[in-house]
């Protein structure tokens, strides 16, 4: 049995051992198994087990997920560059609530507050409000008071949701592309591009140039003279 199989059996063993009973909603075994291996990012067996347990349970009710998804779409409406759904934001928030249990009551309570407030203002829950009504509600909570020592609960709740939505989006494939991050791939660094240097009025000191890598020689075995001067 290779390591991957052994983790799989470890995990499925713990499923059979009553894990399914602990969760409010449990997913079928094969869905769970597939989910674990959707994410392959060098987990230790203990970490993989923990991930597996979290992925096998659902914290938010479906109605709460719907409100979260709507809220996320109001915070960051779809654009040609990408949407909340493309970025997997609702699933990310669901996962984080299980990963950081401290988030659970803050989010669940905040969602409840949102429905109570819209019930009082518009006689219906937040999800059933018109877009204009939803904006009207958000306008009350989306701008922290710069002079306040402590922000109100609903303002804190919205700031938390905005943080989770924004970070969920900009850590997704579409979000990273939109941001314009170009790294995370093998390449050869040869300094800041000339046009960028020029735009910023910067340049590399003449006296520093001999200290820098000559990438045409990166494959030549390093040798030095007795004074420590590189000779290759």
């Amino acid at each position: 049995m290779n390591r991957r199989d052994s983790i799989r059996s470890l995990f499925l063993g713990s499923m059979a051992g009553g894990l399914a009973l602990e969760s409010c909603v449990s997913a079928p075994e094969e869905t769970v198994s597939q989910k674990i291996w959707e994410y392959q990012y060098g987990r230790t067996p203990t970490e993989a087990l923990r991930d597996g347990k979290l992925l096998a349970t659902q914290y938010f009710e479906n109605s709460e997920i719907n409100t979260i998804t709507r809220l996320a779409n109001l915070i960051l409406p779809p654009s040609p560059e990408g949407s909340i759904e493309d970025a997997g934001v609702p699933g990310f928030i669901e996962f984080m609530a299980k990963d950081f249990p401290g988030l659970q009551t803050r989010i669940r309570g905040g969602l409840m507050w949102l429905d109570s407030y819209s019930n009082r203002s518009f006689k219906t829950i937040f999800l059933n409000c018109t877009e204009d009504q939803q904006h009207e509600i958000l306008d009350q909570i989306a701008f922290p008071d710069p002079d306040a020592k402590e922000q109100k609960q609903e303002v804190q709740f919205f700031s938390l949701m905005r943080n989770l939505v924004m970070t969920g989006y900009f850590t997704s494939e579409v979000g990273i592309k939109e941001l314009g991050y170009e790294g995370n791939q093998p390449n050869v660094w040869n300094g800041v591009p000339d046009d960028v240097l020029k735009d910023h009025g910067m340049s590399y000191d003449e006296s520093w140039l001999p200290k820098f890598v000559d990438n045409s020689k990166r494959n030549d075995l390093a040798t030095w003279d007795e004074n420590g001067n590189l000779t290759s």
Binding site: T44, M96, D199
Partner: protein, 572 residues
């Protein structure tokens, strides 16, 4: 429960596989000795696809890089952290020492910053300068040949600067600075702060045919799958095995104590196999401790016998004393000139491309010793936390903060790469009052008594931190930047981080020529027991404002040669 005897007899048993243990393994095995390496964590090879995190994207994880199970984010290559389940530690009084442990082959070298600085001549003789602490019994000239050998074996990039206390070595060429680093250089030089290429153990050029060359992904903290950076497993232990050395690795094996014979000489160690939770004894002619300064002190203190009733090597009562970490404090800046940046791949190596070594004369200052400045920022890979408070910097531009809608996309893109930071890392004064000791009230899950810490900063360190922030603010001002956050005042120790936070624990088994005042001699050999050596940072007499790894490696090499010599002469 009976202790299970291991039939094999070793020349040397090495406890721990980080920088010190890795180097001892390489040198001792290469000389033909039969070596056992006992590591408390699992086997780890950064080239193993099942363990690799290098080049993973945040969206390959359901938590997008958040640090739930790993302190520096879930792609960081340290199995462990400030807290480890089942392995507690305690504090005395209001002491707050944060102890970082990495339980894996290679230990903390898998994720460290690769900052590879030699101690200079002054660093070995601090007391001569200011009367504080103690001098090392050895000087730069004793260690220099080993620094030279480490440079050539492992590889470090840098530049020859001819500074007395920042000795040059055998350097690979340095990478060109990034844009924010050029801003820093301009700002720092305006204030007379020296700036030079950093010195990191990352291969910008081929050093041998076994290791790959850096491909500039910025992820040394994830441990390099082509071995383009220094980690003890990939660069020392694997090569020792490949060159035909007799190296047996015992992983997931937690050492409890060093065993001794009737004469009080070490005979081996007892460890607990974490898989079957049974105790084993393995014997050897020599025991080398390299478990980390505090872990090695713990093993010594737990090795009580009729011959060594106060713990092994502890007749002086000095084991655990003089624990010290680097000072550290950080500050961030918003640089408006770095808004709306053109995009390009700015990953570079895993760390800064330039830095500032200590540049001042203490005669004009109100604190002893110095600090260096590390620089960070740039167009980095997003991770959990990116785009939090997406437009909070608007307040510096007179624009509205908060809100919702597609304007937030523009805010995030506008500010991407416009925040940078500086970290001061300096030398603290070793004190007998700062120590770790066995806590008789607590054991870990393996039944081994744990450590408790007593560590308090003094005004020497607080004043140094205050100076750091004054310097940071001046440099940020010179860059036309805005200092973020309030200047930490006296109530916050001027921003001085908790001891332990810089993860440079040293000094617990300090070196000296007087057996009453020190634990090991200049060859890192216990004064009390001739066949026990300590090659982690425990023997450090003082810290310097340098990172300890390069000195751990050089001293471990020196000690290993001494062990080979003494075994040949049948002295131990």
């Amino acid at each position: 429960m009976q202790i299970i005897e291991n039939e094999k007899k070793y020349d040397v048993i090495i406890v721990g596989s980080g920088a010190g243990g890795g180097m001892a393994t390489k040198v001792l095995a290469d000389s033909g000795l039969k070596v056992a390496v006992i590591e408390a964590g699992p086997f780890f090879d950064p080239a193993n696809p099942d363990q690799q995190t290098q080049l993973k994207w945040p969206y390959q994880s359901p938590r997008r890089g958040a640090g739930t199970t790993r302190a520096f984010g879930e792609f960081d290559m340290a199995y462990g952290g400030w807290e480890i389940d089942g392995e507690p530690y305690n504090q005395v009084g209001d002491s707050q020492f944060d102890w970082f442990r990495s339980r894996m082959l290679g230990g903390r070298t898998n994720h460290w910053g690769r900052i590879s600085l030699r101690f200079g001549p002054r660093d070995f003789k601090g007391k001569d300068r200011d009367g504080l602490g103690e001098n090392w019994p050895i000087g730069y000239e004793d260690v220099k040949p080993y620094y030279d050998k480490v440079d050539k074996l492992i590889g470090v990039f840098g530049s020859k600067e001819g500074m007395y206390n920042e000795p040059d070595g055998y350097f690979l060429p340095a990478p060109k600075p990034r844009l924010h680093e050029l801003y820093y250089k301009k700002g720092a030089e305006k204030s007379g702060v020296k700036v030079m290429p950093s010195r990191l153990s990352i291969l910008t050029k081929r050093i041998n045919n076994e290791r790959g060359i850096c491909f500039y992904c910025n992820q040394c903290s994830r441990s390099c799958s082509v071995y383009g950076d220094f980690s003890a497993g990939s660069c020392l232990i694997f090569p020792a095995q490949k060159s035909g050395g007799q190296v047996d690795l015992y992983v997931n094996s937690m050492v409890r104590e060093v065993t001794v014979n009737d004469e009080g000489k070490a005979t081996g160690v007892i460890y607990i196999d974490k898989e079957d939770r049974k105790e084993y004894r393995v014997s050897g002619k020599v025991v080398v401790l390299a478990a980390s300064a505090c872990s090695s002190a713990r093993i010594l203190l737990n090795s009580k016998s009729p011959q060594h009733p106060n713990g092994l090597g502890n007749s002086s009562n000095m084991v655990g004393k003089y624990l010290h970490d680097s000072t550290g404090s950080d500050r961030m800046a918003f640089v408006p000139d770095l808004m709306n940046r053109k995009r390009y791949n700015e990953d570079g190596v895993g760390g800064m491309h330039l830095y500032s070594p200590w540049w001042l004369d203490n005669k004009k200052l109100d604190f002893p010793r110095g600090y260096h400045i590390e620089v960070w920022g740039g167009l980095g890979m997003p991770s959990y936390g990116t785009a939090f408070d997406p437009n909070s910097l608007n307040k510096y531009l007179g624009l509205k903060v908060g809100g919702y809608g597609n304007g937030l996309r523009g805010d995030v893109k506008k500010f991407y790469g416009s925040v940078m930071g500086m970290s001061g890392r300096g030398e603290s004064i070793a004190s007998v009052d700062n120590y770790c000791e066995i806590d008789p009230s607590t054991v870990d899950e393996f039944g081994i008594p744990v450590l408790r810490f007593n560590y308090n900063w003094s005004d020497h360190e607080r004043k140094q931190a205050r100076h750091m922030h004054n310097t940071f603010e001046e440099i940020i001002h010179n860059m036309d930047g805005t200092v973020l956050g309030d200047k930490p005042g006296k109530d916050k120790d001027y921003g001085l981080l908790n001891p332990g936070r810089i993860i440079h624990e040293v000094g617990t088994t300090r070196m000296g020529s007087d057996p009453k005042k020190s634990v090991v001699n200049e060859f890192e050999q216990l004064h009390d027991v001739e066949n026990v050596f300590i090659v982690d940072a425990g023997p450090f007499v003082s810290q310097a404002d340098k990172n300890p790894t390069w000195t751990i490696l050089a001293l471990s090499w020196r000690t290993s040669e001494y062990i080979i010599d003494q075994l040949k002469k049948q002295n131990i």
